[in-house]
């Protein structure tokens, strides 16, 4: 072809564009790894103690690795994602619960299959305990050991001195909530996770904490997800009835010494989806979520018909009662994908006291300095 002025001109343009691009490419090739960042700049880590205050455990989205811990210090100032701030890595995902034991925080991270142990002095990592089958909740047996429930297979027994899994109790079930009564650990077992509701065998397993053997079990309604113990040493079990509303939800009272169900409350409306059964420090009032927050004295003969705190436009997801003052902490998980909010209410009037911004799916709370006997 014949070269004309026009072509040469265009060619030189194309050439120069290319070189500009090439230079940009080389220059822009910074060695900074491409990783998730936050739009708001987090303040640099301040070293202080985390022994007091309140932790919000933000579950994070399954397989997104975005669980976090929000810290509310005693002066009500808030720090987001304190785990990442002090350890330079994300917590993982589906942070289910947190417990404070002997100056350490134990954070159970379900899908990441680990318990992150942090020092409450500065929130730096002590160790990561691994080898679980989807850890859920933890209960201390004595100063040497703790039980951890798993979504699959077994209950793990942790040695609290070496911070490793010492052994496990085979359950072939998804186990959830734990309550200790004398030398026995009562553990709610939902059934095999992959089974439909109809096949799941729901019961409360009774484990002898001396021998770590399952010695007995009590049958309950489908999906016994939460347990609390009242002042008369009765265990209250909340059964959702199944993820697919297989049967009506029930609230079951167990006499742990006789190992029998001594009372069953059925939820009146069939569409009820109760969760997060809690009890106050005096152990005389039950709380649970069923869209709104419900309050129920342990002496009550019926399930309350209207909520103590209505949900309104919120998606109430997590609930706990502050042991020292009985305040109600409720989280709003919103749409599960944006950052949630936590509300603090007065337990007598139900009035809103404070609001705290939280992370993704705030689900549970930890009050490290306040004794909480379940």
């Amino acid at each position: 072809m014949i070269l004309n002025k026009n072509n040469i001109f265009l060619f030189s343009i194309s050439k120069s564009v290319f070189f500009i691009l090439l230079i940009t490419a080389v220059l822009s090739c910074s060695k900074k790894p491409i990783r998730e960042e936050t739009t708001t700049v987090n303040p640099p880590p301040v070293n202080h103690s985390y022994q007091n205050g309140i932790f919000i455990v933000n579950e994070g989205n399954f397989n997104w690795g975005n669980a976090s811990i929000t810290y509310i210090n005693t002066k009500d100032s808030i720090e987001q994602d304190v785990f990442k701030t002090h350890n330079g890595r994300s917590l993982g995902d589906v942070a289910e619960s947190m417990q404070a034991i002997n100056g350490n925080g134990f954070i159970l991270v379900n899908n990441s299959n680990k318990i992150e142990v942090v020092s409450l002095k500065d929130f730096t990592s002590v160790t990561s305990i691994t080898g679980f089958n989807s850890p859920r909740f933890m209960a201390i047996v004595d100063s040497t050991k703790a039980y951890v429930t798993n979504m699959q297979k077994d209950i793990s027994i942790i040695d609290l001195t070496s911070l490793t899994i010492k052994k496990s109790v085979f359950t072939n079930s998804w186990t959830e909530s734990l309550i200790q009564f004398n030398n026995f650990m009562f553990v709610s077992a939902i059934g095999i996770m992959s089974d439909p509701s109809s096949h799941r065998n729901a019961r409360i397993l009774i484990i002898d904490t001396k021998s770590d053997q399952i010695v007995d079990s009590i049958k309950t309604g489908k999906e016994p997800i939460c347990m609390v113990m009242d002042k008369k040493d009765k265990i209250w079990v909340l059964c959702t009835g199944g993820y697919d509303n297989f049967e009506p939800p029930t609230l079951v009272r167990i006499d742990p010494s006789l190992r029998v169900v001594d009372k069953t409350f059925s939820f009146p409306n069939s569409g009820a989806t109760p969760s997060r059964l809690c009890i106050n420090a005096h152990k005389d009032t039950l709380y649970f979520l069923n869209n709104g927050v419900y309050q129920m004295p342990v002496s009550s003969t019926t399930i309350p018909s209207s909520p103590f705190i209505p949900a309104d436009q919120h998606l109430f997801y997590g609930l706990d009662i502050q042991p020292s003052n009985g305040n109600i902490f409720v989280s709003d998980a919103k749409d599960y994908v944006q950052n949630g909010t936590v509300y603090q209410y007065n337990q007598l009037t139900g009035s809103l006291l404070r609001t705290f911004p939280a992370g993704r799916i705030p689900g549970s709370f930890c009050f490290p300095s306040e004794s909480k006997k379940k």
């Binding site: 072809m1 990783r35 997104w64 994300s90 436009q313």
Partner: protein, 639 residues
């Protein structure tokens, strides 16, 4: 057992077709001149006001061992969301979701009727010859519901071909091996094409694990792709062509755990076994084309997590009749009728779920003195006995100058997408009361080109702007019980610009091409779910605002080199835009040499990917490979 039986049956069937083709072709002798292979690359097609882009074999031939996600992310404005090498990769056009993209194989939808989308990583480039990309309203003449676009994998016979044999072997980083073979045989009356691909990758690339702060190798990332296509084209008479195609693929890929997962044994795997088959009769006269086609797609998928597995099996039977009639002066009428049935048997559904779709439509083209072209598409779909609202689309194309190749066009349409079977029936969360999603879209295009595509100098500039409003978009939202449920709640507004500059120049046996595309897209949530919803007006997650691709290719004297550069701007990872993945640039280089010896050709090609060894993630906590290589050795015989 069942699997082996299927294998054997399919193998036998292919063998029969293949045998008959060879025997048949030996009886028909004819002299044909070898056609010159058209060198074009990627360019925009004039299409009566609707946007359509073609990526042809000259590009695809350099990506024999790659999958569809690589091509789309490097050569189109379609954004590909990739979970990692060989892992799930889904397309998104113009800020819409993967559900709004239909992937087709020669016009047959290969989207899963359950999910309403296709995993691009499961589609090897070697199984088709060119890619047709239809944007926005251009899809209405093909199907309803593809708000974003259609990606059509095309393969056509070369009637001049006698024998064309290709054998290739690729050796790539991270213990990845790909074998490709194809054989095209035939004459002017009959053509048979057989293509085979096999990939096996350990995919254990090293990456920096932020969790352990150590350099580790990816675990549980193995993938195996296995596929064979048999196509046969019969010229029954001067007017009639019969086409049969079968594409069987048997793929499996493990899903690596995210970096924050600490597990003793992570076992997660997807197995896909798909048989796609079709038969088509086409009659072409002086003033008409007439096609009748029937196709069957049989998809089996098994998802395994630890010790549990879920099986999903679907059958899609699609039938269509099409007519193109140009008997009236300046008018072309293109009516069509579709009848499709889907059956799904899934561990996630309660019983067999079915869907019957009837679609009737017609396209009317009117050409006014080659200056103005109008195109009107009217479509009426009926799904499971219920009429979907009427779907219209209008395109206008204006060519103001006789001697200047400048085209200005616009189109507008209203489109509907019916919920996927998962949206409706997924146990126990599916919602059978869902309404179809609605899209109102408008688009304006400008295309200017100068010169000839495959000779001398060629320049093409394109500029497209679009605005799309999607209402009643289905969103899986949490319910008070902690589970999810899909509801028609979301409203999305997507608007943007697509600009392209393509240059091609042939000078003294050197061929130079320079293709650039830039895409700007703001796709935002416009319906608050509750008071104080902080996602209102925010960019959708994993939707980059800016993407830019640039490819410079030079070839001559049997050598060829291409430099492929892509930029993806930041993508938000939370709908309230509080977290994001920073933008990044990637550079890839392809170097090759073809050695010709009479009818033989030997090619040696080196692909250098992620040239600057960028440590990046595309999806949070899913590592991507650093610099890596692929060496391909290819042998061709053509008569």
């Amino acid at each position: 057992m069942a699997r082996n039986a299927t294998h054997t049956r399919v193998g036998f069937l292919l063998f029969l077709i293949f045998q008959s083709c060879i025997l048949f072709s030996q009886n028909l002798k004819d002299t044909v001149h070898l056609s010159q292979v058209e060198v074009t690359g990627s360019f925009t097609l004039r299409n009566q006001g609707f946007k359509k882009v073609l990526i042809d074999s000259t590009i695809l031939v350099q990506y024999l061992s790659a999958d569809l996600s690589t091509i789309l992310s490097q050569y189109s404005t379609v954004f590909v969301k990739s979970y990692g090498n060989g892992s799930l990769a889904t397309p998104s056009f113009r800020g819409t979701s993967a559900n709004h993209t239909q992937v087709e194989w020669n016009g047959i939808s290969i989207n899963s009727p359950m999910l309403g989308q296709t995993d691009l990583a499961q589609v090897p480039v070697s199984q088709f010859e060119s890619l047709e990309i239809l944007y926005g309203a251009a899809t209405v003449a093909k199907t309803s519901g593809a708000f974003g676009g259609i990606i059509n994998l095309v393969s056509n016979p070369d009637w001049n071909n006698r024998v064309d044999l290709m054998l290739a072997q690729t050796f790539a980083s991270f213990n990845s091996y790909t074998t490709n073979a194809s054989l095209a045989l035939g004459n002017r009356m009959i053509q048979s094409i057989t293509k085979f691909n096999y990939s096996n990758a350990l995919n254990n690339f090293p990456y920096n694990n932020d969790q352990t702060k150590a350099r580790e190798k990816l675990v549980n990332g193995v993938y195996v792709l296995d596929g064979i296509t048999q196509e046969a084209f019969f010229r029954l008479s001067k007017k009639d062509v019969l086409t049969t195609r079968i594409w069987y693929s048997d793929n499996s890929h493990q899903i690596p755990p995210i970096t924050t997962n600490i597990s003793n044994v992570h076992k997660e795997e997807i197995k896909d076994r798909v048989l796609r088959s079709m038969i088509e009769w086409r009659r072409s006269g002086e003033k008409y084309f007439f096609t009748v086609r029937s196709s069957l797609v049989d998809q089996f998928m098994r998802y395994t997590l630890q010790e549990q597995s879920w099986n999903h099996h679907s059958y899609s039977w699609a039938n269509r009749v099409r007519l193109v009639y140009s008997g009236i002066k300046n008018f072309i009428i293109k009516p069509g009728l579709d009848f499709n049935s889907d059956w799904v048997i899934s561990d996630s559904y309660n019983g067999v779920k079915t869907r019957k779709t009837i679609g009737a439509f017609s396209e009317f083209n009117y050409d006014l003195k080659k200056i103005l072209q109008f195109s009107l598409v009217l479509r009426q779909d009926m799904i499971d006995g219920k009429f979907l609202p009427f779907i219209p689309a209008l395109g206008i194309e204006y060519k103001p100058f006789r001697n200047i190749n400048l085209t200005v066009s616009t189109n507008l349409c209203r489109n509907y997408r019916f919920p996927t079977l998962n949206d409706l029936y997924f146990e126990p969360y599916g919602n059978p009361d869902l309404k179809p999603e609605t899209d109102y879209a408008v688009e304006g295009d400008m295309v200017y080109n100068f010169g000839k595509k495959d000779d001398g100098f060629f320049v093409e500039t394109t500029l497209t702007s679009y605005y799309s409003k999607i209402i009643n978009q289905i969103l899986w939202l949490p319910t008070a019980s902690g589970s999810y449920k899909p509801i028609n709640i979301s409203e999305v507004h997507a608007r943007g610009l697509e600009a392209g500059l393509n240059l091609a120049w042939t000078i003294y046996r050197f061929r130079l091409s320079f293709n650039n595309s830039w895409n700007y897209c703001r796709s935002t949530n416009e319906n608050p779910l509750f008071p104080g919803d902080s996602t209102m007006g925010k960019q959708l997650i994993y939707t980059p605002v800016n993407t830019f691709n640039s490819t410079l290719a030079i070839s001559g004297f049997g050598f060829y080199v291409s430099s492929v550069f892509s930029y993806i701007s930041e993508r938000y990872t939370s709908p309230d835009n509080s977290t994001y993945m920073p933008g990044y640039y990637l550079s890839n280089i392809i170097l090759g040499k073809n050695f010709h010896l009479k009818k033989f050709m030997l090619s040696l090609q080196l692909n250098l990917n992620n040239l600057f060894d960028l440590d990046y993630q595309s999806i949070v906590n899913r590592p991507m490979p650093g610099r890596n290589y692929a060496l391909t050795l290819k042998f061709n015989f053509r008569k």
